[in-house]
Symmetry: C2
């Protein structure tokens, strides 16, 4: 049976990426060697890394002010690396709290300097994205989490900021255009729209690095990785290779503009059904709905149908639809590689439940 | 043509591991999902991680005092994490300098506390492993690098130490028995005897963690990863999966004792030829020769044959034999998965050169 993978991450990637990666695990480009056994200093891998960096630059329209790095340690490592590098003792940085991940970023940053919590939607169970706050122009940076996988909200507009924005784009990078000039640093764990788990994309404005007043260990210093082209130590070869294959697929399929159009189509299909079907209800403010992670619940009076709906989904080959425990209900994560037909299938199952139980 | 992979790392793994990993990239255990798209919270992955942890414990005979972690960031991250967690300000730690990697570990540690450099073979171009030094009993730990990939030396005997040993075993773990009671912490980048690049094994004595007096960010605190069974954040799923497959292979093929026996056979074959063949000469003190990385040069009078020998190797399908630039000459890295027949082939090429040019 074909599985329709709605997992929040690690998540679906295109079938042709799996196919090509599977071949390379046995034999990379006819070399007689597996991608898993080649030196990270070999021409074969240096070419792969260079191509991955170049694809990121092309897709996100990154100019020469910013550097593209492939690191490891996940976005959670960036929660500490960002203030370690950019927030000197006694200085301040601005954060907006929009959910689980931004709260973790704030917690890690507090140990390094003063944190101005500009806004938070915590009191509202993170059902909206705060707007209309002032951003102190003297702060080192403004940190935001552009998409919230847990609560299903997304910054539809990136704030105008007098200071460089540091953005955790783990769950919506490569799904819409990025105005690179707004950003001091962008980071993203690979395991949604970029590739498999095991590498972390960092795009950083070069003039911001190397200015920390405290000691920064080599591996946690952006300067090190810029100087060594992400190969100061052995990089995560295979996760970078698969990310490169996936970025090739993004380009071949129309680039960021096409990815954004597809994400809008998927989001419209599911949210229209959530709003139309009397058995379901959305969990967030409509204008802040995420195009990546649609969260929804059974409406009052139908809550007892949860197990039945999950069973129906499973029988249809729909995987990973159960909501995060903080929100309950359901979550349809719809990353770049998810086809519209998978969302249609989910909608069909929702309609079938309505026909039978509505 | 079959390639005989002598790469220093990332390095050869068993063919059956490549075969099984290749299948799982398309379909993990008939689930209809790729290993690259499953959630790290899924039962499928939790089982994989549990089995990997259990295999490490069984193979290295690890008792309940130590915890097994699969992290990311490579051994280079451990160079800083070890003193960050274990070396309080004003306290001292002992280090032995035996080459490139221990020198890097020492450099990172100096920022955190006092370093007692007990011994160094730097003046001897790292051609031997220092012995006969006193280990201060008041130091937090003794750090050693058990095998030196660059210079081709190895601690044949681990020192008796009044303090816990912290050992970088990146390049010889799972090639010989480990007396776990000697160690406070063992770390190893996966990409030699354990698996592909992208995960780092840490085995740590639980009673040593959580005692740092300074602030330790969550991701760099061993306590975090012990508490969350290496899943505080998304772990490097695929590198851990392949490591698990490889550790299964180690067990199926006789465990650590069999791996040690095989490593002795490979080492004897190559070093006997280096010592017998008048065209070649070893680079290190014989008693400290590494069983993992055999370094050798063309002897005086034959140095002009370097290009020719490398060409011959290439024609025979021998890959990765060029020495590190710090030493020059040749380096035969012979990790667990390398067959004796590959070493025999290299010896045949050395003999052929002797016949034609000796």
């Amino acid at each position: 049976m074909k599985i329709h993978n709605f997992s929040a991450g690690p998540s679906i990637l295109p079938q042709e990426v799996f196919d090509e990666a599977s071949v390379a695990v046995k034999d990379l480009n006819g070399s007689g060697l597996s991608i898993l056994e080649i030196s990270h200093r070999s021409k074969a891998f240096v070419d792969i890394l260079d191509e991955a960096v170049s694809l990121v630059g092309e897709l996100l329209k990154i100019g020469s002010e910013h550097k593209v790095l492939f690191l490891s340690g996940g976005a959670s490592t960036q929660f500490a690396m960002v203030p370690l590098n950019f927030l000197n003792e006694g200085a301040s940085a601005s954060y907006v709290d929009t959910g689980t991940w931004s709260a973790k970023a704030i917690k890690e940053a507090r140990a390094f300097g003063n944190i101005n919590l500009l806004a938070s939607s915590k009191e509202d169970q993170y059902r909206h994205i705060p707007k209309g706050y002032d951003i102190p122009s003297g702060d080192a940076y403004l940190h935001i989490t552009t998409n919230n996988t847990v609560y299903g909200t997304q910054f539809r507009e990136i704030p105008s900021s007098p200071i460089p924005i540091v953005a955790d784009m783990s769950s919506d990078i490569f799904s819409r255009p990025v105005d690179i000039n707004k950003y001091g640093l962008i980071y993203a764990g690979a395991q949604k729209n970029m590739g498999p788990a095991g590498t972390t994309l960092v795009v950083v404005r070069e003039d911001m690095v190397g200015k920390a007043e405290r000691h920064v260990p080599s591996m946690w210093n952006y300067k090190t990785h810029i100087a060594k082209n992400s190969s100061f130590n052995t990089p995560p070869v295979f996760p970078i290779y698969v990310s490169m294959l996936n970025l090739r697929w993004v380009r071949k399929n129309g680039g960021i503009e096409a990815m954004e159009k597809r994400s809008m189509e998927r989001a419209k299909l599911i949210y229209d059904e959530v709003d139309r079907n009397p058995l379901f209800t959305g969990t967030t403010q409509k204008e802040d709905r995420s195009r990546m992670n649609a969260t929804f619940l059974l409406a009052d009076g139908y809550r007892n149908l949860e197990e039945e709906f999950l069973k129906q989904c499973k029988e249809a080959g729909i995987s990973g639809i159960k909501g995060h425990r903080s929100v309950g209900g359901f979550r349809a994560s719809m990353y770049n590689a998810l086809k519209l037909e998978s969302v249609q299938l989910l909608v069909d199952v929702m309609r079938d439940l309505e026909r039978r139980k509505g």
